[in-house]
Amino acid sequence: MPKILYILFFIASAVNAQTKMDSSEAAKLKAKVKAHAGSLETLLSDFVQYKHLDFLSNDIVTTGKLAFKSPNTVKWEYTKPFKHTVLFKNETLFINDEGKKSNVDIGSNEMFKQLNTLIINSIKGDMFNENDFDISYFNNETNSEVYFSVKHEKILKYIKVFHIIFNKEGHVIELKMIEPSEDYTRIIFSNRSINIPLSDAIFTQ
């Protein structure tokens, strides 16, 4: 067999490692994720973020902690290699950059509001809205992967598709946001604690 066929065969097998779900599997996953998202009161997790820019030799790696409190308070805290916190709370974006504090009122900014909702929904994994996304479901070894292709024109300028990987329990373990240029941000979550009491002090700037 010519070499090229071996290569094509290999690529085909590699692609096959991730198979498309049938509609009943997809419905089951969706129900599981929605049930989990609905009962999610608090979430605490570590994360590692990889910023991939095609022209760079290495991805830019940042690490930190994520805290979420229902219904819509989220804190992204970067701890390495710099200290930077973004807190979404009461329609305000509170920023603490290495001790320098500032805030942005997002109540009047439709784009920010949409992005905030997207971020919260993607943490929960609950983005199953056919009006906003074209959705495709895949089995990925023991996990599930769902592609949410953005329909909204304004958001499409910045992110064209979200890839979310769910573990067996329907929890988000990885989130990848792919830009129209194919550059992407990939966030891997670990050490997750669900529905443990989180004091209000965590959600301060």
């Binding site: 973020q49 030799s57 830019i60 992204w76 710099f82 240029s181």
Partner: protein, 201 residues
Amino acid sequence: MRYLLSSFCLLFIACGSYSKKHDFQIVKSLNSHIRNSYFSDETKDYVYKANITVYDNDFSGIFIVKKIDEANYRIVFTTEIGNKVFDFSFINDTFKVNNILEDMNKALLINILKKDFSALVKEKLPVIKSYSLQDTLVYETVILNKKHFYFKTQQLNKIIRVANGKEKVVFLFSEIKDTIAHQINVRHSNIKLNINLKLIN
């Protein structure tokens, strides 16, 4: 006509005066070119935490410089979470906007950034005149038709853009280790724009 002539005279006096005003002593140039090697290694990703202040508004994010090829640079600024704010290419003397946030897509702002970043990354510049100032060598050159002075003690530690005999923009390079500037500050004198860069990898 008389006004025009006096304006020309004033302009002439003003233009020539920066080096004199600051007591630069002309020296015979030993080098035909001055080098800025802070972004010269194609194998390196130059990644900085950036703080930008524009008219009392603070922005922070990640500032990335990559030398793609000879006289070919990519400069990208993203938020901490990774959204691109702007993405520029500098290839020889051409400049291209690959991407910019809608709110920032203003010709005036893009032109300022183009001038600043050209000076920041330009690696090899022809020396027009050389001066000495105490223990510092000062090289005069031109970037995008603007007069620039490069200040070099042991290493390049300052670039100044001058117009009408006055400082317009000052670039400071500090904490230099292995030809990498760990701290960079770009400060404008006539507009409230200040860029602070701190190396993170």
